[in-house]
Symmetry: C2
Subunit: 520 residues, 2 copies
């Protein structure tokens, strides 16, 4: 392995990181230990806490310091022990399903006829009043099987990546928050309506075909969980029930959800560990990935891949046995799937405050936070010199997004240059969304993500029962871990600092000509 030229940091260190990470990677054995043995990690579940202990042990074994958890307000814990969903009439047939997370348990196995009653607005309730008692209610429109001609599995071509290099003007839709709240609240209202009508359970359709199920669910404040058991059913099975019901076969379904609420601890926890730096005045750099997952698979690509990469990057740097100038901090976030809650809490505790009513919870708090001004930085705000996040599956790194911060491109490109030969040579200006660097960026902090090959993440793996170690790619994980470690090492030792974006003082501008579609 030739010693590569690293413009910043120690080029011999980069070569050692590459050698260790490519030749003696522990990424996939660690991935198996987390995903195969422990399994999915719903925020504030017993399994998540088990995984936290496992990660803290691993950080300590790998020689990291200051290993600890940082709790934050979350909500009710929920543990899924077992479940089954089967058609009983007109013939016995196991169905592919998953309980909606935070669904109430059933009282043992409940069996009932189904009724097809699609409802997506409160004004639809009237039609079904008095007709749902004793029924399992199919609340979604059935739709049709996909004729998608796209590939299941994808690696980016250079022109795919070039198409990502687009500057998007910030835009704020003032109606969006209210619509989000309304849609989010509707599930709870629907469940309450069904419960009041004496229904047995509610069933929604999966949003992907091919017998994929997901089980995302959101009502997790005490007293706000769904009023009756809720199941997500595979499209094929949902439409089978619809066809049978529509042709007089009177299907009956049996559902068993053995789940336990836990209100004894309403806090979830981020896991934090550090490699201390030699210069306490130089600030610190950080890498992170969310550790929590949904429940249908093992949370392997979302986001075991990012978590394992953070753990492996920590190992690779610790193994150098050389103190970086700046401290390198590693964080495994929780509550990401419910609204970036762990990283948002971390911002509140470490970086800046925004004037949000503390009585707001969940989606209301999320929306209020995003639009609350002014942002008041705390002392630690200036200490975070770079943050690298990973949450787009296990696909290899192809480069980095500058998140609209044109001023940061030069230095990011410089740090990336040792990894050209590993195929990670692209820099694009566009923003990425939906994960834990977003709120850091929102307050002007330097949070970045890498361009990753898509693999089959969006087509079938993300949040689904296919999100297992099998759909991670060992070669890609090795490469990502090496680059994550190398970027951190250079950022920790560089004489330069990433230029920051401007601290926002008000929401992004609004389109003055926008006319809202009243049917939305």
């Amino acid at each position: 392995m030739p010693v590569l030229a690293a413009p910043d940091g120690d080029s011999a260190a980069i070569a050692r990181i590459i050698d260790e990470g490519m030749n003696r990677s522990e990424a996939m054995t660690t991935a198996s230990a987390l995903m195969d043995r422990i399994g999915p990690r719903l925020t504030n579940s017993e399994n998540h806490r088990k995984a936290e202990s496992w990660a803290m042990d691993l950080f300590r074994q790998r020689g990291l310091a200051n290993v600890h958890v940082e709790p934050f307000d979350f909500g009710v814990g929920w543990n899924l022990d077992s479940y089954s969903v089967a058609m009983v009439t007109p013939r016995a047939l196991p169905l592919t399903a998953i309980p909606v997370a935070w669904s109430p348990p059933t009282a043992g196995t409940v069996q009932a006829p189904v009724v097809i009653a699609p409802m997506s607005r409160e004004e639809h309730f009237a039609e079904w009043k008095g007709k749902l008692a004793g029924k399992i209610v199919l609340v979604s429109l059935p739709g049709q099987t996909s004729e998608s001609k796209g590939p299941v599995f994808q690696r980016y071509t250079d022109s795919d990546i070039a198409a990502l290099d687009t500057y998007t003007k910030p835009d704020f839709d003032p109606d969006a928050p209210a619509i989000q709240v309304r849609n989010r609240r509707f599930q709870g209202k629907l469940a309450a309506f069904l419960k009041a009508e004496g229904a047995v359970a509610m069933v929604k359709i999966s949003y992907r075909d091919g017998k994929l199920v997901h089980g995302e669910g959101y009502d997790f404040q005490p007293g706000q969980t769904l009023a009756l058991p809720a199941i997500e059913l595979a499209q094929e099975d949902y439409r089978k029930l619809v066809r049978l019901a529509k042709t007089g076969a009177a299907p009956e379904v049996a559902i068993n959800v053995a789940a336990r609420y836990d209100e004894s601890n309403l806090k979830a926890e981020n896991v934090v560990a550090e490699i201390p730096g030699s210069d306490p005045k130089a600030g610190y750099v950080m890498a992170g990935a969310h550790f929590d997952s949904w429940i249908a698979g093992d949370g392997a690509n979302d986001n075991g891949a990012g978590s394992i990469t953070v753990l492996e990057a920590a190992r690779l740097i610790a193994k150098l046995g050389v103190k970086p100038k700046r401290t390198i901090r590693f964080v495994l976030w929780s509550g990401e799937e419910q609204g970036l809650l762990g990283s948002r809490a971390y911002i509140d505790q470490h970086y800046a405050s925004r004037p949000v009513d503390p009585s707001l919870k969940g989606i209301d708090s999320y929306i209020a936070w995003r639009n609350a001004f002014p942002i008041t930085p705390k002392p630690e705000y200036s200490q975070l010199k770079a943050y690298f996040n990973m949450d787009n599956g296990s696909g290899r790194f192809r480069g980095i997004y500058s998140e609209g911060n044109l001023g940061a491109e030069k230095l990011l490109k410089e740090w990336l240059s040792p990894f050209d030969m590993l195929g990670a040579d692209k820099l694009v200006v566009s923003k990425t969304g939906g994960t834990d660097h977003v709120f850091l960026q929102a307050i002007g902090l330097p949070g970045y993500q890498f361009i990753q090959d898509p693999l089959d993440y969006e087509s079938r793996v993300h949040h689904s029962n296919l999100d297992t170690v099998d759909h991670m790619r060992a070669d890609d994980m090795r490469q990502a871990s090496v680059i994550m470690a190398g970027m951190l090492w250079q950022a920790a030792n560089s004489d330069k600092e990433l230029p920051r974006a401007v601290l926002p003082t008000q929401p992004a501008p609004t389109d003055p000509f926008k006319v809202r579609d009243p049917s939305q």
Copy 2:
């Protein structure tokens, strides 16, 4: 709907077939009745017989005559009542699996540690002797998750179809039969070895990823069924067990297969029905599709689609209320999945004899039959004027294969011409294989199949747990049914007859320079 010009037959009748079949199709409601209500139809199972009764009732309701079954020698019946496969250690996790058809049942739920012991040749047994007692044996190599970049769902472009238009010279590999027999026999020998070693069950890996399972299996002569319970496991779950076993987690699995053998009736049955013709001397035309299926899905695209198309074509023609010149016969074959057994038996009984040792069964009989000469035609041989088969999913007809019979192309094209506007205007010379027209063609009879859009048949549906009505296409089924009926109607009334291929007198020629790979 304009009256179309039909070069043969009655153009008003074609217009009425199109009107009825496109505007008042019963294809999908019939499909739901068969697949959703009755479900999969393994040859000689109780469910297959239930479906036979259903089909005979439907033929009778649709006004067909001479509705009956024709039994043929098959083997043991097998009925799967329920099954479950779950990982128990290191954590509780339901696994996606299916029993191999004709697997022995388990004695209730059996739980045991797994051992990874890939064996594909008898010489591999020695390595595992004495090591398998009390174990659930994973007998396949684990392989890796697919990175296939092909589309899940496909409709043919004109150039895709042009590529099918290739004449392939007949070729006979004299080594192939022995290799087929050896590979086929190996599963039985492996099961017997495992049983003798005291193993609990054998587990093989699915041949597709994405949690698809299939459950094909073949040993069905009395006394020849597998010696111990056999399970096919989803790739994702199989490799999870491998990773856990390889990293010391000592996985244990619980298997329950509630299945019943039935040796009381070793015959399976083809279903036959007719629309009688006005001229008994004019011979008859025929359409067919295999009615049997595998067990993981509902046998919707393989081959409910063909069966439903045959039933709908019968309805469309019967509804004309006009007697065709020639009788039109409809056959729903059984035993296709085990080696075209129903259509082969039909040939023996109706069309021709070949000198095969009657003591040979299953694969041995299949291979011997294909290579037995001379072929001695029976009187009915000359009466079959055309046969149209359907067994390539529910994709719309795009044209027809002339199966290497260049002399038949002109008339096939003429009969197809009324359906140009429905997109079925292509004629290609290549042969199709693997279904019930093949043995008719093999003895020189005019058996044809239509070019069909592939949809997601090969990519994920064929034989898998996704083979449900959901993956059929209603528009395509309407179109196929109309064309099937129209082709039959024209063939039944035409003054012309399809030119026959030459009656074979010996196997296809062999490549004189072929050198066999000894590792195969």
